[in-house]
């Protein structure tokens, strides 16, 4: 059997400020390569918290996390940074761009960090991703000159730039209209089926979720259905 792209085993997360609360309670699941999975659940049930752990940014949890078969608990901070750079594309709940840079540069940065391609190749590839999301005309603008929806699409383009193993999104279509939301869905679908990339997308949009391969439903920090 193929190693799953991502596997979570008995993940428990506490917040201790101001009082100790268990936000994630024994979360276990795995996602195979090329699978398009959505995560749904009520606001405050721990979806974002889970995603931060899965994306290796949050290291304070109990349980185990395997990405591409590797145990993330065994890696130090800079190795985790490399994993994020190479294997994970993340789209935040509130699109996060670097205002000091142009739209194009924002998309290019993770690839420049990875340094596998030349500058020209990276620029070309970044333009491709922007075209894919229909915002190639904004490439030269500063990031803060875009609308909310445009920013979100730039953030998606940036998540795709290194052709990551897994793309995680925390409501990546939250700011998009129906038409653009459909476009993004189609792109995701295509990445999963053609590029064998794995998608783990948190959404409030039931219709969006229904079209994915699998739905993981959470309640009070635990998975109730998958």
């Amino acid at each position: 059997m193929e190693t799953p792209a991502l596997a979570a085993k008995n993940i428990v997360k506490y917040f201790s400020d101001p009082v100790t609360v268990k936000v994630l309670n024994d979360v276990s699941f795995s996602v195979n390569r090329g699978e398009f999975v959505s995560v749904i659940g009520k606001s405050g049930c721990g979806k974002s918290t889970l995603l931060y752990i899965l994306s290796t940014m949050d290291t304070e949890y109990q349980g185990e996390l395997y990405i591409d078969g590797e145990n993330m608990k065994l890696k130090d901070h800079s190795q985790l940074a490399d994993v994020r750079n190479e294997k994970i594309g993340f789209v935040f709940q509130f699109h996060y761009l670097l205002n000091e840079f142009s739209v194009l540069k924002n998309v290019m940065l993770p690839a420049l960090k990875l340094a596998r391609l030349s500058h020209e190749e990276i620029e070309f590839k970044a333009m491709e991703k922007l075209k894919l999301l229909g915002i190639e005309n904004e490439a030269r603008k500063k990031a803060n000159q875009l609308s909310g929806g445009q920013k979100q699409r730039v953030a998606i383009a940036r998540a795709l730039i290194n052709d990551p193993l897994i793309i995680m999104g925390d409501e990546p279509t939250g700011n998009l209209d129906k038409k653009n939301s459909d476009i993004v869905f189609d792109i995701f679908k295509q990445l999963a089926s053609e590029m064998k990339q794995t998608l783990l997308i948190v959404t409030h949009d039931q219709e969006f979720a229904n079209k994915t391969d699998r739905i993981i439903e959470m309640e009070d920090g635990a998975i109730i259905r998958q």
Binding site: S55, M57, S78, F90, E100, P110, L112, K113, L114
Partner: protein, 419 residues
């Protein structure tokens, strides 16, 4: 990870906060400028003052001192061999103040490669008689060529030519102040009387002005042979041998050595002029202290600005980390910012420091006492520039170190969740 990318990101962050960055760099520039100008000026002043005395002073003087004989007759007596004598009222004996075998000693010293030059000297008290006035003074019999070569004698000759001392028989160079008192001019004759009563008319060929009134009133120079003639001594009479070394710091050790070898008294410049050394080093310490204080203040400026920048750029740092930049990368970005500010500040500071040194160098500064000085003295020592540059980089690095470390430790989750 490639430095080009780090630098690119650092540059973008700096451009986004251009004005603060500029102000930080100006702080460094200002302090380096002051550092260079201050040190240059202080050291210029130091070498001027040192030059006033030290450059004209031999590093080692060999001479015979009039003092009681160490071997008193009593000690030679068999009878008192085993006793400890107390002798009262000993008087100096054998008033021979010339150096025995001086010419041979000089010939020997000239072969020593630690020595830059050796010159003979005869010193005698004299009276100058002009009309009915008698002035006490000192005549120095010197080898004028050596004196010029080793002790910059010509710097202080303000009228006439010192080389005439060799060419004109029975000639003398008088201090300007003494000449003024006696109302004498170049070409005039002055009568010189030695303590033993010998007299001679000497022709004035030049005036000197050393800047030290005391010397200008009493000292005079004549050739060795003229002085020997004046004193009625033979031509191997030399009362002092002056030595200038390549390295002044070796003077104390060599003085001891020569004293033993040649059986004479020897004084080194450090012992003779210790107060000048102290003055110079105190002035240097003050200027370094002020310069370094300025740099530290500039360092705090950079520290503040970087801290502020990091606070403003928390989002940027979080996103860089989320997309795969490690804490080390982020740390390097901010160190790069600090060092860029340091390098730009230092380069302009060194440049402006040089220009302001040059400016000070142009300001007229004329004083009776210092005939060779026309403008304020400034030292252009490459080591000030090196120290200033290195210290600027070290300070900015340290100023960047803690903010950069803080930036490297920013937890992206806290920032991203906080939105």
């Amino acid at each position: 990870m490639k430095f080009a990318l780090i630098f690119d990101i650092a540059r973008s962050l700096m451009l986004a906060r251009f004005r603060q960055t500029l102000i930080a760099a100006i702080g460094v520039t200002f302090s380096i400028t002051m550092f260079i100008a201050l040190l240059g000026f202080m050291n210029g002043l130091n070498s001027l003052l040192d030059g006033l005395i030290l450059n004209r002073t031999p590093h080692i003087r060999l001479y015979n001192e009039i003092k009681p004989n160490e071997k008193q007759p009593l000690l030679l007596s068999e009878e008192f061999r085993n006793s400890y004598p107390f002798i009262h009222s000993i008087k100096p004996s054998g008033g021979r103040i010339e150096i025995h075998n001086a010419l041979a000693i000089m010939a020997e010293l000239k072969k020593d490669n630690r020595i830059l030059g050796v010159s003979p000297k005869i010193v005698s008290q004299v009276f100058f008689n002009s009309g009915s006035v008698d002035i006490t003074g000192v005549i120095n019999g010197v080898d004028i060529d050596q004196e010029t070569r080793l002790y910059a004698f010509n710097d202080y000759v303000i009228d006439g030519k010192s080389s005439d001392l060799k060419l004109v028989p029975n000639s003398i160079i008088l201090g300007k102040a003494a000449a003024q008192t006696m109302m004498l001019n170049i070409g005039d004759l002055v009568q010189v009387t030695t303590p033993t009563g010998e007299r001679m008319q000497l022709k004035i060929v030049a005036f000197f002005q050393s800047g030290l009134q005391e010397l200008d009133k009493t000292q005079s120079y004549a050739s060795i042979s003229t002085t020997q003639k004046l004193m009625g001594k033979s031509n191997n009479y030399i009362s002092e041998i002056q030595i200038k070394l390549h390295d002044m710091n070796k003077a104390p050790a060599l003085a001891k050595q020569f004293a033993e070898i040649f059986n004479v008294q020897a004084t080194d410049i450090q012992t003779a002029n210790s107060q000048f050394e102290t003055g110079s080093s105190v002035r240097s310490i003050i200027s370094y202290a002020v310069g370094i204080t300025l740099l530290i203040v500039a360092g705090f400026g950079i520290y503040n600005i970087l801290n502020m920048m990091i606070y403003e750029k928390l989002d940027t740092i979080a996103i860089l980390k989320a997309t795969g930049f490690s804490g080390k990368d982020v740390n390097r970005i901010f160190i790069t910012i600090a060092l860029t500010i340091g390098i730009f500040g230092a380069v302009f500071g060194l440049l402006l420091g040089y220009l302001s040194s040059y400016g000070i160098d142009q300001i007229p500064f004329e004083t009776e006492a210092l005939p060779t000085i026309k403008t304020y003295p400034v030292a252009y020592n490459i080591s000030f520039y090196v120290i200033g540059g290195v210290f600027a980089l070290v300070t900015t690095y340290l100023a960047g170190f803690f903010p950069a470390r803080k930036a490297g430790r920013v937890d992206p989750v806290v920032i991203i969740r906080g939105k």
